[in-house]
Symmetry: C2
Subunit: 357 residues, 2 copies
């Protein structure tokens, strides 16, 4: 994949959960070379440092004008790097997009509010020859797949990376697991299910929440079957979405039933008490053991729990993990602190047992 | 609602599960007055008699030409009354639709394959001033709702009519329950979630499988909140879709979590052994008690089981129901044979206990 230079717009959310698309792109992307972030609030700092304290030599600029004045590298794309209220493109982002298009810079947008539905932006894009990519535009009927049962032909180990809530690191964990297995010499692939996965350059997947509901299972099956036929991995990690008991949009049973994932890795944030977006409603995040029981009921086994520690002290997180590991009897891992290498022998053994070459 | 005269096209499937849209319309619709069915295979018979042995004075015609020659009533619409392979409009139906449009008869189509995506049909429609309604065209982003938690404001009893498989009578049971409660003097409303519900004239609902996935929970909540605000029912029956463990597209947790249905009525066909569309895959339909346990895990209680008896002898069905009723300890009812009046006192009591006026 040839990488295009891209800027990320984060509109004040670079260090917030809303900036999760930006976070994923800063952690790594094969589709783009990130040359800067536009966020007035963090201007002058290094984007990696704002994210997790690790310098990545990606400067934050206050504006597109500042980027153009100071950067030696030109940008081919501006990527909308935040989730906004109601999925709408707010005026503060629209104004940057207009400025970008006037400079002939293309747009990559993963919000439900498509740039191509804004006639003024499209007029600018066509006048300045700039490209517009709406990652989350629902595919039309004739490009969609129904579920057929062909998933049965896929003979590798399939692991669903589910979570107890949305926006708590499922994609990052899936990506770390895939990389760790590859580093251990195993043929591993990640199946993306969100817009950020596509932006990061994952080759197989679909965008779960922008797909017309009747085709969710079929699009998931199709992505996995294509991956199996073309890449012949020994193991696939399928990025989860939302959570099984999330009233704002429950999801997860598709991974076990339609994608026939035999194993689950469950991502959890112990500091989060309520489902994101359902705090006022009072939807509490369930206990790990109840979530695991529900997963068992659907026919998969949970092989490990992975912890999002963003709201915990390191020592506290470590204690929590040890305690849960004793209680649940499966590995409980802190991916960003310790890596996920501890799980490599677990999955290697499962591959050898269940899917011998 | 002023009723329009309509013909139903069933293309050889009038007495098959594929004809379930036609079946619903023959059982009753407030949106249309059904003046005939076009189905060469059953031409000359009464459509009601073909459906379930009950005459409804709706003739079956071999062709649109025969209808025009013999019927005293003109048709304003042709309704596509069948589910087709892959959701596609096959040539045998397209040719009838072209003929209808040439006579100025409009089209109501609930397949994913939209008539408005067929330029030749749209050209005919515009030339002959005929109306085209694609019930299942996904709504655009700006017309869709995210889930907000406003479901909390709805203070009536909410009952989800779920099933152990798709296409086994959930909609019919929801409609019978709504009518039975109304006949008993209770303010009851049905929330539709499929294209047939809309065609039957149900006022509140949305089309589950044609909705972009991120908006499923919000559209469901919005339909229920609107119904509550406008009609102030004491009880709502929410039509289910698919089944919780259906690999072709699992569904059901939305009804319990997002619509906050406290009670479930579970529709079941004892003669069906495998999930429809997953027979070769080998997805067996689970036991009733396991399905009820899964529903319990999501936080709702199953108050009754309703039985689709289409593949059973009457005596066999009765025996099965009695046996299950003893085993499960809840009413097990045969809606089409016995009606659902036995459940009226059950729901009346629940309304009085949980949602006193």
């Amino acid at each position: 994949m040839t990488k295009s230079n891209a800027l990320i717009i984060t509109a004040g959310y670079l260090d917030r959960v809303n900036g999760k698309t930006a976070h994923g792109l800063l952690r790594g992307t094969d589709r783009f070379r990130i040359v800067g972030v536009i966020d007035e609030k963090y201007a002058g700092r290094d984007a990696g440092e704002v994210l997790d304290g690790k310098r990545r030599n990606i400067p934050v600029y206050a504006s597109l004008a500042e980027f153009k004045a100071k950067s030696a590298k030109p940008a081919e794309y501006c990527i909308v790097g935040v989730a906004t209220k109601g999925g709408v493109l707010p005026e503060e982002i629209l104004s940057v997009l207009r400025e970008a298009l006037r400079s002939g810079i293309g747009i990559v947008n993963g919000l439900h509010d498509c740039v191509s539905d804004h006639p003024d932006l499209m007029e600018l894009a066509s006048r300045h020859g700039a490209d517009v990519i709406d990652v989350r535009r629902p595919k039309p009927f004739h490009e969609l797949h129904f579920w057929t049962g062909r998933i049965k032909e896929v003979r590798c180990l399939k692991v669903a990376v589910l979570g107890t809530d949305c926006a708590l690191g499922k994609r990052t964990t899936a990506w770390l697991l895939t990389t760790a297995m590859q580093n251990a010499g195993r043929r591993a692939e990640m199946i993306y299910t969100g817009q950020t996965g596509w932006m990061q350059g994952a080759k197989y997947g679909f965008i779960f929440d922008a797909t017309v509901n009747d085709f969710i299972s079929g699009e998931m099956e199709d992505a996995i079957v294509r991956c199996w036929e073309e890449a012949r991995p020994e193991i696939m990690f399928i990025e989860g979405q939302s959570s099984l008991r999330n009233p704002t949009g429950p999801a997860g049973s598709e991974w076990i039933l339609s994608a026939a994932a035999q194993e689950v890795v469950l991502q959890h944030d112990p500091a989060r008490k309520f489902i994101r977006g359902a705090e006022e409603y009072g939807a509490a995040i369930g206990k790990l053991k109840d979530e695991i029981a529900l997963i068992t009921m659907y026919g998969a086994s949970t092989v490990a729990v992975t912890i999002n520690t963003s709201q915990m002290a390191a020592s506290e997180a470590k204690l929590y993990a040890e305690e849960q590991e004793r209680e649940l009897g499966i590995p409980v891992v802190l991916p960003l602190e310790e890596g996920v290498e501890r799980l490599v022998p677990v999955f290697s053994r499962l591959i050898d047992e269940r899917c011998p070459a």
